[in-house]
Structures are given as C-alpha cells and as structure tokens.
Symmetry: C2
C-alpha cells in the first residue's frame, strides 16, 4: 500500500522479479479494493502469490507513534513484518513510511541479542563497484560499541551481497588536522583494530570522498552524518546530471555530438541509475526488512525485492549471528561493559 504510487507500481515490480528469480513466492498485504483490481490483471503473479486483505494501511505522513497506535496487529505493514517473525516470509519489503516501518520492525522483530540499536544500510555505487554504508538514518549519534555493531552488521551484509570473504571496513571521519574526529569514532577504531576479526579487514578511518572511490567495502558512521552524506551524494549526482543535460542541448554541435555518443550517454545514465541501488536494509533485527524509496518505479521496487532475496539466499541473518557470537566470545570484557538496559534483544 506504500510509496507514492501503491499497488500500481508495486505489483508490476513483482512480475519483473518472477522473471529473474523464478523460485520467488509472494505474500501480498493490502486493502482489497486497491490490490485486487491490479492483481487480477496479472495472472502470472497471482499464481505465485497469496493476497491477504488488511483493512488498515499506514499513511505516508503518519508519525511512527501514530502508526503503531493505529496499525499495530492489523495494518498491512504490520502483517508484512509479522510474516517474517512467524517464518511465513523470509524478508519484508515496503515502499511505505520509513519511520513507521522502522518502529514496527523494532517492535515486532526485536533487535538481536547484544545489538543495542538497528541501523539502515545502503548499497553505495562506487568507481570500484558497490560498498555497504551504514547507518544512513536510523539513529542520531552512536557510541563506540554501536559503531562496532554497525561494522559487524555491515561486514556480514557485504559478505552476503558482494561475494567477499573478508570485506574491508572503514570508519567515516574527518581528516582535518586540528581535530582528530569524534571520540566515539576514535574509540571504535582502537577496539576494531585490537579485535582483528576474521569477518572483516578493518582499515582505519575514511573520509567523505572515499565513499565514491570505494576505498573500503563497508563504511561505518552514525546516522546523522550518514544520512547527510547519502543525500548530498544523491543531490550532487542530480546536479551534475542537470549541468550535463544543459550543456548537451545548448548548441547544435553539442546536440549532434549527443546523437553520436548516445549509447555512451545511455551507459552513463545506467551507471548513475539510482533505481538499481534502491533499498535501505534494516540491520540488527531478528529478520530482514528492506525499505524501498517511496517514489521509485517498478524497476526500482524490483531491485529492492531482489536485494532482500539475495540476502536471504546468502543467509545474512545466520552470518550476522555467528559474527556477533564470535566477536563477543572473544571480547567478553566488551560485552560486560554494555549496560544491560541498553539492549532490548529478545534472546
């Protein structure tokens, strides 16, 4: 029911996924009058799907607390998250209200044992390929232990998605000399270096320009700076796209040049296509939830589904659990330092 376009975009996206991941099965949660008419036009989708009517749909402008109040136990969003909890679904994908989705996911799935707060991870296109960047907006501020949790979560995601045995990890920091970065970041860096984990190759601090370079496979930061970095990069890409469009249409010669180079421009457009990296992954919960951009089209929503599919296929949750266990078994003093009240895991 979520996103700017609802079932009209969501359901055609599912059809695209069936073509590329033929063993996929869908549980579709939504209001009958909105979903049925579209689903009836898509017999192939109907054949591999189960549709569950839900009277209540979370609105895009509901506050998380409102959404929980009105939508808990019964809304389509809640039901979709609950399907993961009950084991009916392997992953939940939504283009709906981010705050509500995070609130319901936390409430329903709970954070993993030893994880204090979940993070939202993004796949970041780089000149080398893709990196995992987290947190891009679930939290504001993070202490050293939370940053280490994010590093473990992000490294597991990189192993599940990017076919890496031991992804490189960096902590996002500022490089100007008079300030050596946030205390939390420095402390997390010391602890990560000391831990020398098998699941990741910790490489130290990275700066904002290392994101696009792909200097490391996983970039770890708290959510305020991470969200600003993500949106700044999106804004810069759009800005340069506008410059390019304006330059290419300004003179006849430029327009002729554009025609000759059209396939090159198409390739560039494909490279810069944000739809292909659509999907913020909620990490640190007992289940996988993927948040699609609300404004995306069917291709973008399909990418978010496939992101979830691939993480399930590559056993992301098991990887995370085993990495967390290994880390805490080797760092018992660290675990003891985390106040019991901070974690709300259910294990």
């Amino acid at each position: 029911m979520g996103g700017d376009h609802g079932p009209k975009v969501i359901l055609p996206a599912l059809v695209k996924v069936i073509e590329r991941r033929p063993d996929v099965r869908f549980l579709i949660y939504g209001r009958d009058d909105a979903v049925r008419p579209v689903l009836d036009q898509l017999p192939r989708l109907a054949g591999v799907s189960e549709f569950v009517h839900c009277e209540v749909a979370v609105r895009m402008d509901d506050k998380p607390s409102q959404a929980l109040r009105h939508g808990r136990w019964k809304s389509s969003m809640w039901k979709a998250v609950e399907a993961v909890k009950n084991g009916h679904a392997d992953v939940c994908i939504s283009a709906g209200n981010t705050g509500a989705l995070m609130a319901m996911s936390k409430f329903c799935l709970r954070t993993m044992a030893s994880i204090d707060r979940p993070a939202i991870a993004a796949l970041w296109p780089t000149v080398r390929g893709e990196s995992v960047v987290l947190d891009v907006g679930a939290t504001i501020g993070a202490d050293a232990h939370q940053l280490i949790d994010f590093a473990i979560l992000g490294a597991a995601m990189a192993r599940a998605l990017l076919a890496l045995d031991r992804p490189t990890v960096g902590l996002l920091n500022v490089g100007v000399e008079e300030i050596k970065g946030q205390e939390e970041v420095k402390e997390a860096g010391l602890l990560l270096r000391e831990a020398n984990l098998k699941s990741m190759d910790y490489r130290g601090f990275v700066e904002g320009d290392d994101l696009g370079k792909g200097t490391v496979d996983v970039v770890v930061t708290e959510g305020f700076a991470g969200n600003i970095a993500l949106k700044t990069a999106e804004g810069t890409a759009k800005q340069i796209g506008e410059y390019l469009r304006a330059a290419m249409s300004r003179t006849l010669m430029a327009r002729i040049g554009y025609l000759f180079a059209k396939s090159a421009f198409d390739r560039l457009r494909e490279k810069m296509d944000v739809r292909k990296v659509n999907g913020g992954v909620f990490l640190g919960l007992n289940g996988i939830v993927v948040k699609s951009h609300g404004g995306t089209d069917d291709e973008g929503f399909a990418a978010a589904i496939e992101l979830g599919y691939d993480m399930v296929r590559n056993r992301l949750i098991e990887k995370i659990k085993s990495d967390l266990d290994t880390f805490h078994a080797r760092q018992p003093q660290l675990q003891a330092e985390i106040p019991a009240a901070a974690g709300d895991g259910d294990e």
Copy 2:
C-alpha cells in the same frame, strides 16, 4: 611556503590576480631561498609586493600544537596572520597546514566578542549559483548558540560575496520521520525563527540534497557532518567525471560525439571546476583568513585570493560585527545564557 608546490605555484597566482584586481598589493612571507628565485622572474609582481624573509616555515604535517610551539612569533604563517592583526594586511591567504593555520589564527586574531568558536565556510556550487556552507571542518559538534553564530557569520558572508540583501538560511538536518534531528539543531531552529533577523531570511531545515539544489543561500551545520558532506560531494563529482570519461572513450561513435560536443564538455568541465570555488574562509575571528586547498594550481590559488579580496572590499568584518551586535541587542536573554567562559573574544 605552504601547499604541495610552494612559491612555484603561489607566486604565479599572484600575477594572475594583479591582472584582474589591479589595485591589489601583496605582502609575501617565506624563506628567502625558496621565494627569491621565483619572485626575481616576475618583475611585475615584485613591483606591487613586499617580501619578508622568515627563517621558519610550518610543515604540512606539523600538528597544530607543534606548529604553535616552533612557529609562533616567527614563522611565515604566523607573520602573515599577524599582518592582518596589525592592520598591515586586509586578509591573509595560505595554502599551508589547515590545523596550524586555524590554531595560529585563533591565537593571534582571537575570536570576535560573543563568538565562541570560529567556523570554516565554503562556497558551494549549486544549480542556482553558489551557496555558503559552514562549518566544514573547524569544529566537531556545535550547540544551538554556536549554530546561530554560524548562521549570522554565514549570512554576512553571503551578503558580502553574493550580492544579496537578505540571504536565505537553512539548518542542515535529516528528514527521516522517526528521528527529528539533533536537539541542538531543533533548538537553533526555534531561536532563529523567533529572532526573525533583518540580516537573514531563516527558512528552516534543509537536507543533504538541498546543498546541490541551492535551496537556500546559507547552509548551517556543525563541522563533522559539514566536512563529510563537502568531501562526499567532491568525491561524487569526481566519480561521475570518471564514469563520463570512461563512457566517452569506449566506442568510436562516442569519441566522434565527444569531438562534436567538445565545447559543451568544456563548459561542463568549467562548471565542475573545483579550483574556482577554492578557499575555506575562517569566520568569527577579528580578521579574515582564507585557506586554499594545498594541492591547487595557480588558477585555484588566485581564486582563493580573489575570494579574500572581494570579502574585504565588501566589508565582511563590519557586516558581521554589526549583525552580531543587532542580534545580541535584541536577544539579551540569549547572551546571558552563554557562559562567560565559553567566549575568548578580546573585546
């Protein structure tokens, strides 16, 4: 003496400025053996300059404390800053060690009365023109009063440089619903809205993608997020430049297209030329100091000088002083709230 190339790049930059700002005069501080041979080749520059030999030069890798210890009172960097303090110069420009330059500037020029900490402001190219963004790296973290100071400083800079009567101002924040941003940012927003200043048109929160759009003339943030945003944007621009270069050289058709559209590409390159927006402006001190990128060429360093020149011509320091006075006169309760120990102004 600073930057990656020293006098070989710095002095030719001064020649460029003389051509475009014929009334400029230079005080050049450096080691005789490094500066003289280059200066002797540039008679026109020698005619409008005074060269002052300084035995000591701050190294690019000196820590700020080291630089102060070895370079205070006598290094070329100190002498250049001191020239502003003594009124011998109107503005100091350096391509040297950022941390050392900020430490010496603070120590020598002191912060303005009522200003707690200086900020570094950058000119940010946008699709609408240019915006002022601060702080991009002088500080980590900022409370509400410091953010308000940054807003006043940035608005004065926008008026001095961008020919605006009442620049629009936004506070950089995150927009995801479940978290409403940092407490300090929210408090600063309330106070700015309440103050309704003549010197700026406060427009509320902006997000990372508003930077490139030029949604507001002045974007205010603390230095950690600001530095990461700045470097992320630089990195993204480079990344897209690489994509574009790769796309345009991949096929014969693309290369032919490139030739036809060459003037358009030149225009794009000019738009994306970071040299033209070179220069971090230290704001909040009793004098103007501009930090050029260390790796820039003569055109880039010339841009940093002209940035300083234009701010002096447009009486930036007087604008800031008068805006601060107006603000604090109207907000006596706010001034009273600032702990006396926080300010180290000398007025």
